[in-house]
């Protein structure tokens, strides 16, 4: 087995409670098979996700970060996902600006009824992350070179 095949990317998935988290539950009870690489973190709304969470996830060694919430117009808090759309866009642009591979961070709209979609999102994410290898750029787990 090559080193690449043995590597399993670690994904942190911020899922809004009302839609995407429920969607991931639906994937589970429907017995849809999908890779087990994502650690879900339920948040009340994607609009409540501070960019700090995303940066911190990378800082602690996440190989990929997903933010998933309700479709526009369906937000339990009316506007939260609109605000998230803006904030996440900024985070994404900043990460790419630094030189982090664009495929490491993504956002999706997954409703409570879209169990299959959730599974597909994770499947695609894992497939896109594997060739990139472990995330080392922001990760504090990488050993440090000494500098003055």
């Amino acid at each position: 087995m090559s080193e690449q095949e043995a590597y399993e990317p670690r994904i942190i998935a911020f899922l809004c409670k009302w839609c995407s988290s429920a969607g991931s539950d639906l994937a589970g009870v429907s017995r849809i098979q999908y890779p087990a690489n994502a650690t879900p973190i339920t948040v009340m709304c994607t609009g409540a996700i501070s960019p700090m969470y995303i940066l911190s996830a990378f800082n602690k060694g996440a190989d990929g970060v997903l933010v998933s919430g309700c479709h526009l117009g369906d937000c339990h808090y009316m506007e939260g996902n609109y605000l998230a759309r803006r904030k996440i866009h900024l985070v994404k642009e900043l990460l790419e600006f630094i030189g982090v591979e664009p495929n490491r961070f993504r956002m999706s709209w997954v409703s409570a009824a879209e169990g299959a979609k959730y599974a597909q999102v994770i499947k695609d994410f894992v497939a896109d992350l594997k060739p990139l290898g472990p995330q080392e750029k922001l990760s504090r787990t990488k050993p440090e070179a000494e500098h003055l």
Binding site: M52, L55, R86
Partner: protein, 343 residues
């Protein structure tokens, strides 16, 4: 051209007539040509005020300091505080007012227009002066004139002004109570975001290599944060040392305080710090350039903030420091905000 006497008279009158409790401005410093912040409270001190190419500081920072001082002492502002503000500084004040940090009537803005001539970048100047030290600097039309031991040295302002001045869209302080100098807008000597555009020609790998080198130099002195008027949080989220404690704070709370990043100035922590700061300034940074000027190890911080500013302008139609009543960038949205990146 600004008549210095007009500036001094404006300040003197405000204090003499009891219309302001203090005037924050610039005065000659003790080392060479550089101006330094001045805090005058008596009319006769107004003669100390200066206005020249070394007036680089964003004095809005001291409005924040004043507000914190008042809050700490549970004192009401009383009379307004007056401040000498360049175009960039005035935009910073607008952002602070937009965020209700203080009320409009609490600040008397004495706007000064640099009239597109900007302020000097000492690093660029050092190259032109070739080791000589200037003891004085004045504006003269499109030039700066420096006094050195070898005599006077005249330099075109565009050759030694700060990059953020070269790219400035609006040298004139739009928001003001009184204003000196002409409204010479549209006088960009370089297109806005020139430095940013140049950087973005690099590939992702080249960008990373570049930032790696920059952030490896960072010693986490926090000068960038200290000098920014918009970094006014008493508890900085990326500095666990600023955890506020009172006599009632329990040991558990102290021990378990959230540490988003460590104090170590390692590459990962430095990058996370700077990216967090850039995110926190999205839509709020007015590109006064102070963060980049003060950095002791020359990290090109403006690039990060300019990136956020350009996204704000081009994707969201948002201009920082434009109007006091406006919503914040991340607290508002439009139906047409880009969303094609969302799966």
């Amino acid at each position: 051209m600004i008549n210095l006497q007009d500036l001094r008279d404006t300040a003197r009158d405000l204090l003499a007539k009891g219309e302001a409790r203090a005037v924050i401005g610039f005065r000659r410093g003790s080392r060479g040509m550089a101006a330094e912040p001045a805090f005058i409270t008596r009319p006769e001190e107004a003669d100390e005020l200066v206005w020249d190419p070394t007036c680089v500081h964003n004095l809005a920072l001291y409005l924040v300091e004043d507000r914190k001082f008042l809050a700490h002492n549970r004192a009401a502002p009383g009379l307004p505080i007056a401040i000498v503000a360049k175009g960039c500084d005035a935009r910073a004040i607008v952002v602070l007012m937009q965020e209700h940090y203080f009320k409009r009537e609490d600040v008397y803005i004495i706007g000064v227009s640099c009239e597109g001539t900007g302020v000097v970048d000492e690093r660029k100047l050092a190259v032109h002066l070739n080791g000589a030290v200037a003891s004085n600097a004045v504006f003269d039309g499109d030039d700066y004139v420096f006094t050195t031991v070898q005599g006077e040295k005249r330099l075109a302002a565009r050759d030694v002004m700060a990059d953020r001045c070269l790219e400035c869209r609006e040298p004139f302080p739009r928001e003001h109570n009184a204003v000196l100098g002409e409204n010479k807008t549209g006088r960009e000597l370089a297109a806005p975001f020139t430095a940013l555009a140049r950087f973005e020609t690099l590939s992702a790998t080249e960008r990373w290599t570049y930032w790696e080198r920059q952030f490896d130099r960072c010693i986490r002195c926090f000068a960038c944060r200290s000098v920014c008027p918009m970094c006014f949080c008493d508890e900085c989220v990326v500095d666990s040392i600023t955890f506020p404690v009172t006599a009632q704070t329990t040991a558990e709370e102290k021990a378990n305080r959230i540490r988003w990043i460590e104090r170590s100035a390692t590459r990962s922590e430095n990058i996370t710090y700077h990216m967090t700061r850039a995110m926190h300034l999205a839509g709020r940074c007015v590109d006064c350039g102070e963060c980049e000027r003060v950095c002791p190890v020359n990290i090109p911080l403006r690039l990060l903030n300019n990136k956020m500013e350009r996204e704000a302008r081009e994707r969201f139609g948002y201009e920082p420091g434009a109007s006091i009543g406006g919503a914040s960038l991340v607290g508002s949205f439009r139906d047409e905000d880009p969303g094609s990146f969302i799966r």
